[in-house]
Symmetry: C2
DNA sequence: GTGAAAGCGCTAACAC
DNA sequence: GTGTTAGCGCTTTCAC
């Protein structure tokens, strides 16, 4: 049925070893044989079976990326960065979506266990630090975007605490003193860090941190609306709101608009992530951007280094973020 | 280093065949051996190497999905549908993003050639009908969402012509007679079909099709704004606009809003795809929804059937769409 | 510069 | 019910 290296060798009148050599561009093969083999390959339409190759070489040159969701435009950019870098080094990137379900994530991690991929990077995970640490002992894994506290695993993200600080600071610089926060409860580390940064910024500016200005909910969009509703029901309403994700921020904006407020004037809103929606929404959304492309490249670079080295790097790398002011925030 | 089936066999005091048998749940294994082997597997932390298995079985039970972009929330839903169905049948779905670059797409198709995956489904492709037909002769491929004219390849999509018809019809039913279209030039089949449907709907209603009401551009968002600007510069302005994608529709809405128009009242706008943005935008966007989940399930079902049958099904399947009216469209 | 042959980890045909 | 063994397609050592 399908043509193998043997067929090529027979047809070209050389040994399989020679065919393999030209396939892998190794030295020690005469110009003549090389040309002959290449012609035969073309003639027969031969394509090497990587199952054989990978089995023999004990490597696949494929890295798996597990995403919690496919909705996040952030992930697309990160993966593009990964792909560009990986391809240059002869690696391929494949991705799988876990929809944040641990049983799906587990199933996908199987590709690591069964040697179908050389390594995996997780853009958010439901695994615990212990589980990750155990995994990291036997396999090459990395976290990107979202770290896990206590995990000694190669991680590439932004400094969420500082980013939260800078976001709140930007609002303060616009003259706001009554700044609310839409955050998520749960164990999501990045959100908690952003929240901590927000609190530090207020304190640094001598602004009292008020409980009624801090909302905890889920990542679901409607939660942003609920938060805004709550804030606007207060006697002493905030003039600015910082949400730990753009989706929450947009939902908050929608709610504010439905209450007759003009976002950017009556109330300032700042998001986080700089997803493509930020530009599309009216008003365009101020936010904190993560260097997605760079993060993708960097984590792949480090992971491939780990793949090919004895002593693995399991450090936490924080890449630079950027506050972007658009129409949704204004001076008080 | 890594533990193999041999190690398990030795440790358990049975042959590799027996281990293999319990691994694959085949009959003819005594309860006792089975338990013993399973215990040994757990004890040794053994995980079968699928490179060996796949090589031997000449199949991987993995299907590759190639997406033109990762921004499209549509794709996420389709892939979820694929995954659910595939997993049930023991298959895994992996995905790769081509960013619409044919050289990346080609690289990714390599996984098909080198037998790393059993089949591939393309959510939009830059390959020609001839190329696809040739591919389909030797490999198991399918198209989803976006067909290619002249390609005799298993395809699952909606009936774009009818969907375009129904979208325009819905606007007509709201009393509109001056209905403009934002489409894309290019060879994108789905858009052309939607456009044809739009034209047929107008004709059926006895409405003249006016050149100045039809805009051709790219899929880039700003193009939707340009279109709206053009329409609003006409002496005889349209009262409704149908865009062949939600992104274009949203951009058109934004432009209209910036011109002081109230979308849904002064001008009605209808999109296509029902991406998650539709609900988030203000006003929420009327659109045509594709049965993403179902499409994903269906194409995987058919592809797996092809994988395991002699005579391959290369038909075109059109699944049902649905017009969804929200705030962006109103009665005239 | 080239070929013979071992072996990567697994499944399955065959023998018992 | 179980074991022996050939072989999937490839790379690589070793010999020449």
């Amino acid at each position: 049925m399908s043509v193998t290296i043997k067929d090529v060798a027979r047809e070209a009148g050389v040994s399989v070893a020679t065919v393999s050599r030209v396939l892998n561009g190794s030295a020690n093969v005469s110009e003549a044989s090389s040309r002959l083999v290449n012609e035969t390959i073309k003639k027969l339409g031969y394509s090497p079976n990587f199952l054989g190759r990978n089995l023999r070489k004990r490597e696949t040159n494929v890295i798996l990326v597990i995403m919690p969701s496919s909705e996040h435009s952030l992930y697309g950019t990160i993966i593009t960065g990964m792909q560009d870098y990986a391809n240059k080094l002869g690696y391929d990137i494949i991705s799988a979506v876990s929809n944040s379900a641990s049983y799906i994530e587990t199933r996908q991690m199987n590709m690591l266990f069964n040697r179908t991929v050389d390594g995996a990077v997780m853009l958010g995970t439901s695994l615990s630090a212990e589980e990750l640490n155990e995994l990291a002992e036997n396999y090459n894994i990395a976290l990107c975007c979202e770290g896990v506290e206590g995990a000694n695993v190669l991680t590439v993200a932004v400094d969420d605490e500082q980013a939260g600080y800078d976001a709140a600071k930007a609002l303060i610089s616009l003259g706001h003193r009554k700044i609310a926060l839409i955050s998520v409860d749960s164990a999501v580390v990045s959100s908690r860090k952003r929240e901590n940064g927000y609190i530090r910024a207020l304190k640094d500016a001598g602004i009292e941190v008020r409980d009624e200005y801090i909302w905890h909910g889920t990542y679901l969009a409607h939660n942003g609306g609920d938060a805004m509703e709550h804030f606007m029901s207060l006697d002493d309403k905030p003039t600015a709101v910082f949400a730990v994700s753009d989706l929450l921020a947009v939902a908050a904006c929608k709610k504010a608009q439905s209450m007759g407020l003009t976002v950017g004037k009556d109330i300032s809103v700042m998001g986080f992530d700089n997803i493509s929606l930020c530009d599309m929404f009216t008003p365009s959304l101020s936010t904190v951007s993560q260097p997605c492309r760079k993060m993708g490249e960097f984590v792949i670079r480090k992971l491939i280094e780990n793949l090919t080295t004895a002593n693995k790097d399991n450090k936490y790398y924080a890449l630079g973020h950027e506050v972007i002011l658009r129409e949704s925030t204004g001076k008080i």
